[in-house]
Symmetry: C2
Subunit: 377 residues, 2 copies
DNA sequence: GCTCAATAATTTCCTTCGTCAAGTATTGAT
DNA sequence: ATCAATACTTGACGAAGGAAATTATTGAGC
């Protein structure tokens, strides 16, 4: 919702999102891109410029063959408004402030000593206070990312395993605690949204993001929209079985991707008492073949799971990321090999980006969701 | 495209599709259902009634608590227009004529002695002539279903393995041969569209159809739209691997669903020289445990693959069908067992319909696509 | 039978949005 | 200087859908 309180016309929303996600672009190019008349673009842009969200750049490059009036591209004024994003984990709050382009301007975090909703809200209030500062006057929105079963529309957390929350009206409570307009989203979906609007998913009609860590998750964009699942389940790549005779999974089945490639599963596969995940990484890097094989098998399973996504929905591209990919070098070739083997036909053409997840990226995802809420509501 | 040549307003399209797929319904109910004012529904319906596509039913049931003017529901005049649908296989053309509600009015087929495009077009012309008859004056559309890589938008068949066609401009050629407006679609997608508009997928935002036969295929509706895959591949459930050490698949990998549950794979698993698929069915039904086990393993693999669909995209419901399901009784319990084991959490709530595929259903799918083209173009 | 409340459908008027076509702005080439 | 080319703006217009009043048709209460 923009400050004037009124909803934007469809064309204005389209113009704003296109400029936001596809960088400076002239009105004529926008008209072509959005199937609008250039008159409509001019009219839609005017109030956005008046409110300070867009600005006209100095006419720069020549576009056409030679002559012609040079274009004055429209650009986002990134510092027009700021957004707070906070990822809530079982033992920590990670917070960032970003601008309209979802660039992180500052960050902070806070250890959680208790996960009761009241304790978390208190800590959240303090963290937000610390983060804002000179940003406060131009900040109205707070995004929260929580793992588990979250209803984005109502801001209700139905169940969050690590926090041990059941049916918490998080949006309402957080709005009271901070005075900001709050959006709540599942953490993987938030990250996927960030990538769709501000990362590699820009412009793609379909897109997938896979997270590798304690669990294996997946956010899915199809037809430009986040897939939610009619029964509340979607993107559960971690429980696709790739080996009927594989190790037992906590879900009750065998050979699930998560039961082979989750951090715990790798530790268990290494099978040396007392060896942690990061020690296993160190051993593999120092050339321990048995430990390396565990990572290889894990990477291969992840690649198979990703191929299942590619075979079924055929996204434009897939990004693989997550804490687990601090061990990027150990996983990457095996993820690619598993994917190539299992991807069917042209699905193998789907570009795979495999990269570690920068610190505070989860919190940035939460902020991105609140940026999206500015437009899409 | 309706006979007046003009495109329908969005509201009129919505009204028509809602009446078409959701049966007789009053204007007020339509308005609620489509988030329109009742005035808009009245206006949208008028020209459709004038053209003979809709009709007002006699006021029937009382709706409200007691008093009030009774509603006059709008209904489709199913015999206003007829549609021809033809499925082209490697050795046969199967054709039907359906009404607007995709009910089959007549059917016919023709053996193919050659699969060259010219031979097929000749046979197609004759088949269409045979099918039409008294339907001719009210028939303008022909839908074709072809397996393989088909570009629905251009009517171009890029590659069809059984017909051995490469880059055939099928729409253009078939329009010349028959004088009808032609739509071309991949066979599985056509069947999925039929189910979305006229079968169990009606009203569902997301929906999946799995076909079991020589291959294992899958059509996917997400966000109300057919998933096509950015690289031209989607719904390839047959090449999801469920067993790393399973039998080799023609795609080069191992343990693909199709390599376990395709008709050939089952015959191979039975491992008795000279025994065909239908003989294997008979053996299993007569209590041959070894043969029964092959069907059990196949059903389980299909169930696993379906669970992957449910875990990833979470459709409202899934229909399993296909020629292979003439052996319905042998597969069904194992498909359900594999699905339940592998579906994660609430994904297991996804209703599964498992049913054999009536004869000419593929051709009906082709007709359904051409009905859809009437509205959505 | 008459009146009234309740619900369905239509009509009339009006707003909104975006297009069309004409005009203005700004450049390079001749 | 003039002209062609391209970008943008303006104002008139039209189509689509909404709001509210009006008409239509019923059952209930008297």
């Amino acid at each position: 919702m923009f400050p004037d309180g009124e909803a934007l016309a469809p064309a204005a929303t389209a113009v704003f999102t296109a400029v936001l996600t596809e960088g400076p672009i002239s009105r004529v190019a926008l008209a072509r891109r959005l199937n609008l008349s250039s008159a409509a673009v001019t009219k839609a842009a005017r109030p956005l410029i008046a409110m300070g969200y867009l600005e006209e750049q100095a006419a720069t490059e020549r576009t056409g063959p030679g002559a012609g009036r040079p274009a004055s591209p429209l650009a986002i004024r990134a510092d027009r408004e700021f957004f707070v994003g906070v990822k809530i984990t079982g033992d920590e709050l990670i917070g960032v402030v970003t601008d309209l382009r979802a660039e992180v301007r500052t960050s902070a975090h806070r250890r959680l000593t208790a996960t009761g909703i009241d304790d978390v809200l208190t800590q959240l209030g303090e963290l937000v206070n610390e983060l804002l500062g000179s940003f406060r006057p131009r900040t109205r929105h707070l995004g929260l990312a929580v793992s588990g079963d979250v209803d984005h529309a109502t801001g209700f957390v139905r169940y969050s395993p690590f926090l041990r929350w059941h049916d918490v009206a998080l949006r309402e409570l957080a709005e009271k605690a901070t005075g900001l307009t709050v959006t709540v989203e599942n953490d993987v979906k938030a990250l996927t949204t960030a990538e769709q609007w501000f990362g590699e998913g820009v412009g793609a009609d379909s897109f997938a993001l896979v997270t590798v860590g304690a669990g294996i998750g997946c956010g899915l964009i199809v037809g430009g929209r986040l897939v939610s699942g009619a029964h509340g389940v979607a993107g559960e790549i971690g429980h696709i079985s790739v080996d009927t005779n594989g190790p037992a999974c906590h879900c009750g089945s065998r050979g699930c991707v998560e039961a082979i490639a989750g951090a715990d599963a790798i530790v268990r596969a290494v099978g040396r008492p007392g060896v942690t995940f990061s020690q296993a990484v160190a051993l593999a890097r120092s050339g321990d073949a048995a430990v390396g094989a565990a990572f290889a098998r894990a990477g291969d399973a992840i690649g198979s799971g990703i191929a299942a996504v590619a075979n079924l929905v055929g996204p434009s591209r897939i990004v693989v990321s997550g804490e687990g990919l601090s061990a990027y070098d150990l996983f990457e070739p095996h993820i690619r090999a598993g994917f190539q083997r299992q991807a069917f036909g042209a699905a193998a053409d789907c570009p795979l980006s495999i990269r570690p997840l920068p610190f505070e990226e989860w919190a940035r995802g939460a902020a991105a969701v609140s940026i999206k809420a500015l437009v899409a509501s």
